[in-house]
């Protein structure tokens, strides 16, 4: 059997992932600072190729920048049902019921209080309710896969949901995303804005996934994986996962007092 050079295989992608990881290790060896975030351009994730800037970011050091403050949300922006993704329809969704909880803090460890957390995910079969998701896995009439809540006084969030399934995508032949929940977070400053994905411990798909592997720093990558916490599991009800989140980026110091 000869390989078809027009087909982008997992082997090709895995070799590129490996190459990027080795290049990063070299950088560290030469004294570079660890990089907690993915590079904006990361070739193994093919969608990034034509969509990332090639020019360096322009650093704004202005202490009066508007981005050092940020939007706020409140009780009118959510409803009670929003944090329970298993109760948004007439019946219960299929899947492993789970609760995911954690604490949102800034880089100084201060809790981010009263801020909006938004999540979205595939159903237990790995299918999004989204019209453009063409994966031939069943839709679940009892699951939209969308949740939101406000963090409490300690910066904690909690969602009740079902464990999402892994799903195929078209980055390359036989590409599968590890199971994940998408998270959107606001800090006290617009600079701290974060959209990310939470993964589940021990997923065998990690090493094949260019999106997770775009975080070339191993320690940083591990911070995207939730911890199974038996003390959070509820008897006869749900499994418990913990995932703490730390928001990057500066904030205006004047804003801390009021929040």
């Amino acid at each position: 059997m000869t390989a078809n050079p027009l087909v982008l295989t997992q082997d090709v992608i895995s070799a590129e992932i490996d190459q990027a990881r080795r290049a990063y290790a070299e950088e560290l060896k030469e004294g570079a600072e660890p990089r907690p975030h993915p590079a904006r351009g990361y070739r193994p994730y093919r969608s990034s190729v034509a969509r990332h800037p090639r020019q360096p970011l322009v650093v704004v050091g202005d202490p009066d920048a508007v981005e050092l403050s940020g939007p706020v949300f409140g009780v009118t922006d959510i409803t009670d049902l929003d944090s329970d993704l298993t109760r948004q329809h007439l019946g219960e969704p299929l899947g492993e019921r789970m609760q995911v909880t954690g604490r949102v803090a800034d880089r100084d460890g201060r809790p981010v209080r009263g801020q909006l957390v938004e999540i979205w995910q595939a159903n237990s079969a790995g299918r999004y309710a989204h019209q453009r998701d063409q994966h031939p896995a069943p839709l679940d009439p009892h699951f939209t896969g969308v949740g939101r809540c406000l963090t409490d006084d300690q910066g904690r969030y909690t969602f009740t949901t079902i464990k999402p399934g892994p799903y195929p995508w078209r980055n390359h032949l036989n590409a599968w995303r590890p199971a994940h929940i998408h998270f959107s977070l606001f800090g006290t400053a617009f600079t701290q804005r974060l959209v990310t994905q939470m993964y589940f411990p021990g997923d065998p798909l990690f090493e094949y996934d260019p999106i997770l592997q775009s975080v070339t720093d191993e320690a940083a990558r591990s911070r995207l994986v939730a911890t199974y916490d038996h003390s959070l599991s509820s008897p006869e009800w749900a499994l418990g996962y913990r995932w703490d989140i730390v928001l990057d980026g500066p904030a205006a110091t004047w804003i801390e007092e009021g929040r």
Partner: protein, 190 residues
Amino acid sequence: MTFLPTPSQTVGPFYGYALPFTGGGNIAPAGEPGTITVHGQVFDGAGAPVPDALLEFWQPAPDGSRTGAPGSLRRDAVTGAVVGRTGVEFTGFGRVATDADGRYVLRTLPPGGVPYISVCVFARGLLHHLFTRAYLPHLTDPATEPLLRSLPEHRRATLLAVREREGVHRFDVRLQDDGVHEETVFLAFE
């Protein structure tokens, strides 16, 4: 600085039920005199419109206040549906998904104290969001704005919205130079 940050990951293509909301681009109260429209398209490095980008906007109120106000996603407690901002308080926050042609429209009031609206861009293919600014030409003196002054002319131009007519401004976002058009200036904060 002892806590290590959670890495960014792409917003992906399937955020549609979760993030955009009805009226997300209408920061200005309906019918408010002085409302301005900022609109444009998002393009990729091939010059093609990006149909699955999500733009967020953040700005001071017209009086210069930067505290914002809750209620951008205000919901009906019975149905859970978004019912829109009250129009009494200025939330300062907007969110718009681009349409099939990569277009967005924002209706807002001019920011107080600064000549720009802060823009955050998310999209499938972007592993980390991008910040930029839409400078409103009628409020901007490029000679006195430190950020604009620091940029060469052709780069600076990407941050300046273009006046189309009274109260209507065009601001395109180019994620990458397409060989004809300059890539938008994107920002980092320290």
